[in-house]
């Protein structure tokens, strides 16, 4: 499987031509058909009177450009830089400056910068952080602008109309604020080492959970470690809970608030009604033993790592062992093939992939619903917010308009696809976008209504960390299911209690 190269918008001759074009005069660009500009010309473009430079921390999507060199071994990105040049041609007074990706964007640094009023104007961060961890008020609520037309999309009535509704809902803060524009999807899949599978005599990828365990056993018998990684509650909970609850129940949970998808608000109500309360619904933890069976085959050094926080660079991880050809498979994000490809000195093998096999037989609660696409999600590289004047003293109304317009400019279906596909690790999510070839089979996950049911683990940041930790302790064999169940129930109950208090949820309505 090769990911990325065949879909590079700047590949080969096209790439060279494109470079020349962006450097040429604006009128020539229109003739050459640089997409965004043509569209922009046909739509009515707002005027920007503000002059100055917008600082943009784009994290993984930071393009190479003046002052920013390519990090060793990685593929240089250009899309955002090219778009910033186009934008500058439209508005010669507005410059976009990309912040060096080494910028410290840890939670501690973001909060300290916000408190001092020194946040960057446009920032990448995980929407969960904006919604649940960072202080409210450090980023603009973009929801009012989502409802307005995006002038850079011809004929657009509401910007939100080109976004994936399930994702918009998932990323909303409990008060309904949208702090980020979220434009990409991280698919999660099994990636496997074709050479090692062959060595163990496995010719077809597993279609059922029982086959998956069978293959693990086989690999182990051949002296091959079947898999490696830290136990991932986040991803597995979505796979299993979605399947065990089944579509009618998921629809019901989703319906507590108006829009599609499942938000933490829906989860709070679902908990209140007992649907995802582990003490009232045996389905909620019925899948944990299946996970323990699987992780039993995983490299114990990786499953023993702490699941919250980061481990020191150099510690054994699923990716590093996989790239070294030491384990047969990982259940990982869609960046994995590229991670192997761009790792210096990686083992020579072909990477294959297969979705989560059928869960039938994992427990009596398994349903027919194919939830393999529910793992993964919009927690990826295209999540951009605009900082408020309170958190960024360089921000003001005029600058906000300019930053918003640049955000609108890059958040069109066409540009979303261009930016996300160039990196080749994720899927673009705006309506009408097409992912790179390798991800096309996974695209169905996003086009159907999407139910990311994780048991309400995000109701508070504390609960989130606690649940992940309990899960890891259980699958690592350190505590019994009974002990895990009691701790888990307590954690969700506390999270629910605090969520209701913090967001003034009127339970009587439900």
């Amino acid at each position: 499987m090769t990911i990325g190269s065949d879909d590079d918008y700047r590949k080969g001759d096209r790439f060279v031509m494109y470079r020349k074009i962006t450097l040429a005069a604006a009128c020539c660009m229109v003739l050459a058909g640089a997409g965004g500009l043509v569209q922009a010309k046909t739509a009515k473009i707002p005027a920007i009177h503000w002059k100055g430079t917008i600082n943009f921390y784009a994290q993984s999507l930071t393009p190479v450009g003046p002052g920013i060199k390519q990090v060793s071994g990685e593929r240089p990105l250009h899309a955002l830089y090219d778009l910033s040049v186009q934008f500058n041609h439209l508005y010669p007074n507005v410059h976009i400056h990309f912040v060096n990706p080494a910028y410290n964007s840890s939670n501690q640094a973001v909060i300290a910068n916000a408190a001092a009023g020194t946040l960057k104007d446009m920032m990448w961060n995980q929407y969960e952080n904006y919604d649940f961890v960072f202080p409210q008020g450090i980023a603009y609520n973009l929801m009012p602008y989502f409802r307005q037309p995006n002038p850079y999309i011809p004929g657009n009535k509401h910007w939100i109309g080109v976004m994936n509704p399930s994702i918009v809902k998932e990323t909303l803060a409990p008060g309904g604020q949208a702090y980020v524009v979220d434009g990409d999807w991280l698919a999660v899949n099994f990636f496997y080492n074709k050479t090692l599978f062959k060595k163990a005599g496995i010719t077809t990828t597993p279609k059922t959970w029982a086959q998956l365990l069978q293959d693990c056993k086989r690999l182990k018998a051949h002296g091959i470690t079947p898999g490696a990684d830290r136990p991932s509650y986040d991803w597995w909970s979505r796979v299993f809970l979605g399947n065990y609850l089944g579509v009618p129940t998921l629809k019901k949970i989703s319906s507590f608030s108006k829009s599609p998808g499942i938000s933490e608000f829906d989860n709070a109500i679902a908990y209140y009604k007992g649907i995802i309360n582990p003490q009232k619904n045996p389905r909620i933890m019925a899948w944990w033993p299946a996970m323990r069976q699987l992780y039993h085959y995983w490299n114990p050094n990786t499953t023993a790592l702490p699941v919250n926080g980061s481990v020191p660079a150099g510690a054994p991880t699923g990716e590093s062992l996989f790239a070294a050809g030491k384990v047969a498979m990982v259940f990982q994000g869609s960046w994995t093939p590229n991670a192997v490809k761009y790792t210096k000195g990686h083992a020579k093998f072909a990477v294959g992939s297969f979705p989560v096999p059928s869960l039938t037989g994992t427990s009596k609660y398994a349903t027919k619903y194919n939830s393999s696409g529910d793992a993964g999600g919009p927690q990826a590289a295209f999540q951009f917010a605009i900082s408020t004047p309170q958190a960024d003293h360089a921000m003001n109304a005029g600058k906000f308009q300019a930053a918003l317009d640049f955000l609108r400019f890059i958040s069109t279906p066409q540009h979303d696809q261009m930016i996300v596909n160039e990196m080749g690790n994720m899927m673009p999510t705006f309506k009408g976008t097409t992912p790179i070839k390798a991800f096309r089979p996974l695209q169905t996950a996003m086009t159907k209504p999407w139910y990311q049911e994780d048991g309400g683990q995000y109701m508070t940041a504390e609960e989130y960390a606690t649940i992940r930790s309990i899960f890891a302790e259980y699958v690592g064999g350190h505590i019994s299911l009974k002990a895990a169940a009691s701790q888990y129930s307590k954690a969700v109950a506390t999270g629910f209690h605090q969520f209701v208090l913090a967001h003034h949820v009127n339970l009587a309505k439900y």
């Binding site: 994290q59 993984s60 002052g67 920013i68 990090v71 060793s72 071994g73 990685e74 593929r75 990105l77 060096n100 990706p101 080494a102 910028y103 410290n104 964007s105 501690q108 640094a109 909060i111 300290a112 910068n113 408190a115 001092a116 009023g117 020194t118 991280l186 660079a313 150099g314 054994p316 990716e319 590093s320 062992l321 790239a323 070294a324 050809g325 030491k326 994000g333 960046w335 590229n338 991670a339 490809k341 761009y342 790792t343 210096k344 000195g345 990686h346 083992a347 990826a380 590289a381 990196m423 690790n425 994720m426």
Partner: protein, 270 residues
């Protein structure tokens, strides 16, 4: 014979992190994954050091200035205060001492936000002084505590003749205490040099300009958070840490000489 043998074993264990860093700085990440403890795969990745050097060399100068000015400031101010607390009677001495000592009990990350706002309000962002001034303040409590303890241990008779000749406190401090305190000053300097040279969090906030950053910030830039492949950074990072440690090695061997001179020249007695 058992004495040197035992020491060699202990020294080897203590030095092992450096040996480990050397081994792994010459590998690719998959090579490290296979066996982090010894050379297993060839060829050695000397290019790691090249890449590391390119990225961090300009930060050497920034770090060298910040570290040296800060450490000189810490030692100068703290030794004066340590002398006063140890040998000059003045009102409220113990209370003032405990107030300074109490700073040892305040974890740095809790004061980070107010301190950062303060540095910004002084207009010192992206300026060396934005780090130097807080570092001098931050080093005081520990250094004063150690200095006071050592200065009060100096025997009185070494002061007596000078006092009878009418020497002032400044003279006593400069002519008698300082020369006798070289070992402890070296010790405190080493501790502070290491701490400031490797500090990451405050510099990562204060020094945001790409062309003007400290070593630790430059080194961590290899680790820039990425959804893109990022498996190549760890070994380069180790190479960078080793390069960054070379000036410290020279400094230590230089300081160690003074440490011995101080030992043998004076009569430090507790």
């Amino acid at each position: 014979m058992w004495l040197p043998a035992g020491l060699i074993v202990l020294a080897f264990i203590s030095l092992y992190p450096i040996i480990y860093a050397v081994i792994n700085s010459l590998k690719t990440e998959p090579q490290s994954t296979v066996n982090p403890f010894w050379f297993t795969n060839w060829p050695l990745q000397w290019s790691n050091f090249l890449i590391a050097f390119e990225t961090i060399w300009h930060a050497f100068f920034t770090s060298a200035i910040i570290t040296s000015v800060s450490v000189v400031g810490i030692i100068a101010l703290a030794s004066l205060s340590g002398y006063a607390f140890a040998r000059i009677p003045f009102p409220a001495k113990n209370v003032l001492f405990m107030i300074i000592f109490g700073l040892l009990l305040v974890p740095g990350f809790l004061t980070l936000i107010p301190l950062f706002i303060e540095i910004k309000d002084f207009g010192l962002l992206d300026h060396d002084l934005g780090l130097i001034l807080p570092y001098i303040a931050g080093g005081q409590a520990f250094a004063i505590f150690v200095f006071r303890s050592f200065f009060s241990g100096l025997p009185d008779e070494i002061f007596e003749s000078a006092v009878m000749d009418g020497a002032s406190d400044l003279t006593l401090y400069g002519r008698i205490v300082m020369p006798l305190s070289i070992p402890i000053m070296v010790t405190i300097a080493i501790i502070n040099v290491v701490g400031i040279w490797g500090d990451y969090v405050l510099p990562s906030l204060v020094m945001n300009a790409t062309g003007h950053r400290t070593l630790a910030v430059a080194i961590v830039s290899f680790e820039a958070p990425k959804f893109a492949p990022s498996l190549n950074v760890y070994n380069i990072e180790l190479a960078a840490y080793l390069l960054a440690s070379i000036p410290l090695l020279f400094l230590f061997s230089f300081l160690m000489k003074y440490f011995i001179q101080g030992m043998t020249s004076g009569s430090i007695k507790m």
